[in-house]
């Protein structure tokens, strides 16, 4: 428990540090009174407008004070004001959350569902044709950035084969399941394939290692069936790198989502962020970054916890502390 609290504390520190860093970095150089507000509102803004915004967000005080007010706003779900949309950030951020969440979950879950059996079987039948073909494809896919896969797949499936429409209006599963499917299948695949390839390579390497361990040989020497050796002795002992990487890869997944949302015209947080950055939309950038950082940090914390669930050694070491 103490260990968990320690990790939690460290992650909270990182969260504050990074979000504060983003705030400072977005506002640094905008030193003169009213500057941040002017940046936000654009050149045509009147002095009253500027003053109003400046006061509302305490843009004249020091960064720590600004951070404090922004943070306080965050916790009351007031994410600030966006001049590009002339709206409160909260209002237009809401519908953006789900599409990105869909993408991320489909990609991660899909990648794991594909990767685990493939990797396990590859490791079990090491050097077989299946292993070699699997290794070839995972290697090739690891090397395809989203930026390459997106045009290739959309050229093939949207333009050549015309299996998917370019744009569908109904994107939520409760509106239209097929519309949801058509909208998210291809983008999810673009994100999923390289991710699955990474997972396959990681898990295969660990499995190969584990399968050479004494306790696996001992399990065989007890007469345990190969299937049971594989799935209940070897797999659990090989999951650590994979788990760690579900957390680590999340950052990369978000990066991929930025590209994919842009490419497939999905109105998610990624495209919002890109537009926000390119138009110096202070509050949008801060809010979306904060959400992403919080997600990354939380997932890593959960990964840390899951080690303890899997491994009694970690559980006990932590119970001691």
């Amino acid at each position: 428990m103490r260990y968990f609290l320690q990790r939690l504390f460290q992650f909270v520190i990182v969260f504050f540090l990074v979000t504060f860093g983003v705030l400072v970095f977005m506002r640094i150089g905008l030193n003169k009174p009213g500057d941040p507000a002017r940046t936000m509102l654009g050149g045509t803004a009147t002095d009253e407008q500027i003053k109003a915004v400046t006061d509302r967000f305490h843009l004249n005080s020091n960064y720590l004070t600004q951070y404090w007010y922004w943070l306080r706003g965050m916790f009351t779900l007031d994410f600030g004001y966006s001049q590009t949309n002339n709206l409160d950030v909260t209002t237009y951020l809401k519908p953006r959350v789900l599409p990105t969440l869909f993408l991320g979950i489909y990609a991660t879950v899909g990648a794991l569902v594909i990767a685990v059996p493939v990797a396990v079987y590859q490791a079990y039948r090491r050097d077989s044709a299946f292993d070699k073909i699997g290794s070839f494809f995972s290697f090739a896919l690891v090397s395809i950035p989203a930026l390459v896969l997106a045009p290739l797949l959309s050229y093939l499936f949207i333009i050549r084969l015309q299996w998917f429409p370019r744009l569908a209006s109904k994107i939520y599963p409760w509106e239209s399941l097929s519309g949801h499917f058509k909208n998210f299948l291809l983008p999810s695949i673009v994100l999923m394939l390289p991710l699955a390839a990474v997972y396959v390579r990681l898990l295969r390497a660990d499995m190969v290692q584990t399968l050479q361990a004494d306790f696996v040989t001992l399990a065989s020497a007890k007469g345990v069936s190969p299937r049971r050796v594989l799935w209940s002795h070897a797999l659990r002992n090989s999951l650590f790198t994979l788990l760690t990487n579900v957390g680590v890869q999340l950052g990369g997944l978000v990066g991929g989502a930025l590209v994919v949302e842009q490419y497939f015209n999905i109105k998610g947080m990624g495209s919002l962020l890109v537009v926000g950055i390119l138009s110096s939309d202070l509050f949008t950038v801060q809010s979306v970054s904060a959400i992403l950082v919080a997600t990354v940090v939380t997932v890593n914390l959960l990964v840390d916890l899951s080690y303890a669930v899997i491994d009694p050694r970690i559980r006990h070491a932590r119970a001691l502390s």
Partner: protein, 312 residues
Amino acid sequence: MTLTIESPPVADPASAPDTPARTQRRRPRIGMWFGITWLGGLVFCIVFASVLPFIRLYDTKIRVGGKAGRYNLGPGWTAWLGTDSSSHDVFARCIYGARVTLTVGVLSTVIGLVVGGLLGIASGYFQGWTDRVGSIITDSLLALPPLLLALLLVYRMDDLKDVYSWLGWLDRQWEITLTLGILAIAPFARIARAQTIALRDREFVLAARSLGAKSGRVIAREILPNLIPAMLTVAVTGLGILVAAEGALAFLGLGVERPLTWGKMISDGQRDLARAWWATIFPCLFLFLTVISFNLIGDQLARRFDIREAAI
């Protein structure tokens, strides 16, 4: 980008026969030679772009019937890979784009390698508060999705250099190089730290200290030589990732404006994908082949130095 590294192999020739070691090399080295050939060819074209007869100058427009038009040529003899929306030769543009991409990639890798490597070695060797500060830096760098961090950095650097005159030397290419370099620090630092910790407890390091060697010498003579193979391997694989990241930045609109890089070409051609697939697909291929080449070489190096590669 994460690599997990095993401790260096302990090979005792006398005990070898008792433990049937992994036999046979698995994949032939064709892959690595492919990678070297592709990268070598690319570098050759980049260096001699202006004198090679089959590469047009960056600004040459290809006219059909005396007119320059949008996508007026598909792939063929006149323009190997066709022409783009402004009637430029796609092949020539890919080569010129590669110059920027590869320069940015190599320089940012060097930045990441040096800064991250030193940070990691310091954290791993001295531990204590050095390690704590180091790990907060790396954790923070890793908490922000890398592409988001890159977008922020590049975009804000543009603004900042207008405000602070001492940043005036920053052009877009330098901005991107610095940014990607900063992104590369955390992964390099992590690996260097893990390796250093593993090496620090090895007995030959203890032996060096018992001979009266100072910390600096121990790091330089005992730790660094054992660290370099792993770091180089990571650097090569990392180059592939940074090249892809540069592409993504360009795609999102924060690339070098002139010459255009692959990401921007993909982004530009995307709207007309149905009409002129070549303007998008060929830059895609260049990007893919370059990334995979780095990966292939990195993979071979990892095998060579017995570094178990984990994620890329």
